[in-house]
Amino acid sequence: MVSFSAVAKRYPGGQEALKEVSFSLEPGELAFLTGRSGAGKSTLLKLIAAIERPSAGSVVVNGQNVGALKRSAIPYLRRNIGLVFQDQKLLYDRTVFENVMLPLAFSAHPPKEAAGRARAALDKVGLLNKEKANPITLSGGEQQRLAIARAVVNRPSIIVADEPTANLDAESAARILDIFVEFNQVGVTVLVATHDLALVARYGKRVLRLESGRIA
């Protein structure tokens, strides 16, 4: 599903975020990506969604070599990847419901079906009663759940989350991870980056530990 082989990433200026990373995620697998701040977790996730390109090695997602992907093909890759960020990247000039509708705007779903999907996604993260609210009025945990609803509304085969539980209390953080586990149980491949080792330990899933640019 996702496979890295000997991937290196150097940023302009010589900073080497990843030195040599090789791993692969099987379809339907859930794994945690851990490591200290600055270990390269975010860079690794960005490579999956073609937000960054590898300097060396190959990143293969859904059978596509992401590093060699044409610019025009990138949107179609991303439609199959649900991205969740630490800063949720929500749009605060529209409602919770409209935020979830965004990815459906350019899909071919008829409006009624799209609205149904959006409500189903909101229901899954427990925000159906807040669909008319402005995201700014939501708590941190609720905003993160909204970001997840937006990421999954198009039913991607992969979910990639970057520190989704940062800045959240333990209870909210556990709820977020529970949601990821639920999606994983219906067959979605999930990769969650977090530095919260205690939380990770509770789930007993595969852990990829990044240390100075390599998988340790």
Binding site: I51, L83, P110
Partner: protein, 289 residues
């Protein structure tokens, strides 16, 4: 196909909310200048075109010339292949024609006798006025070819000036649209970044902006036509009074339907081009990081 149409409808509705009426007004004022100039020139064109195509030469005959000699001269003129039409105007006819002009009747009555000579009016595309003046019995030749040519040349200069003005103001239209779209893209940076992250294509993100450019140009074109129509209506009130005093019904005409449509089409096209340039340049610069 239905999804495609829906996407366009949504982008169109989005663009309608975002067009700047002030910018459309600026575009309208800019386009009104060449469009109005063209309308004025077009109204004057029939007169100058006819003169330039068929310059007339008037041959005034010697007052004492006998009718028979005049007729012989006429025969000679008709035989000349360089001459198109030949019309004999007797002095009586000329007087009658002149009397019909406003205010001239009194002048002629005061003269007491007919001061006008017989004349031939011929048309020719060639410069034969000098030659015709030497014919026996011809007292004086007046060719309007010279001033017809001058008028045509002046019209050509004005036409070129209008074309240059159109080009400059068309470029201004593109620039205005370019900047409008640039600002809109910058203010919607967050939204565009999110759209790219969730897999929107550049075409999808750019579509509303194309419509903004197109609609803004179209509204600008309509404003220009309205301004021209209003200006011509005002002008015609005064021109009508002036022309009537000369016994003429001359009015400045509004642009023909196809010309008006051309103004709208060009404005919309240039607006779209400005938007396209701007989107191509500024949308690429926004990438999620």
């Amino acid at each position: 196909m239905r999804a495609w149409l829906r996407h366009h409808r949504i982008a169109f509705a989005d663009a309608l909310r975002r067009i700047s009426l002030l910018n459309a007004l600026v575009i309208g004022v800019a386009l009104a200048l060449p469009a109005g100039g063209y309308a004025l020139l077009d109204s004057l064109r029939p007169a100058s075109a006819r003169l330039a195509l068929e310059p007339r030469i008037s041959l005034f005959l010697e007052p004492q010339l006998k009718r028979a000699d005049a007729e012989a001269l006429g025969k000679r003129l008709r035989a000349d292949r360089r001459i198109g039409t030949v019309r004999f105007v007797t002095r009586e006819e000329a007087l009658k024609e002149m009397s019909s002009v406003q205010g001239m009747a009194e002048v002629i009555a005061a003269l007491g006798r007919n001061p006008l000579p017989d004349a031939y009016v011929v048309t020719s595309k060639e410069e034969i006025a000098g030659e015709l003046a030497k014919l026996p019995g011809v007292a004086h030749v007046q060719a309007d070819a010279v001033w017809a040519r001058r008028l045509a040349a002046a019209a050509a200069v004005v036409e070129l000036a209008i074309a240059l003005l159109s080009a400059v103001l068309g470029a201004a239209l593109v620039a205005v649209t370019f900047n409008t779209i640039r600002l809109q893209i910058l203010t919607r940076r967050d939204e565009i970044e999110v759209a790219k992250l969730i897999g929107a294509t550049d075409a999808f993100i750019g579509r509303p902006f194309y419509y903004v450019g197109l609609l803004q140009g179209l509204v600008g074109g309509a404003v220009a036509l309205a301004l021209v129509a209003a200006a011509l209506a005002l002008l015609n009130r005064e021109v009508g009074a002036l022309a009537q005093s000369y016994g003429s019904a001359f009015r400045f005409g509004f642009l023909d339907l196809d010309e008006a449509l051309a103004v709208l089409g060009a404005a919309a096209l240039l607006g779209w081009a400005g938007a396209r340039l701007s989107v191509g340049r500024h949308l690429r610069a926004i990438e999620p990081a």
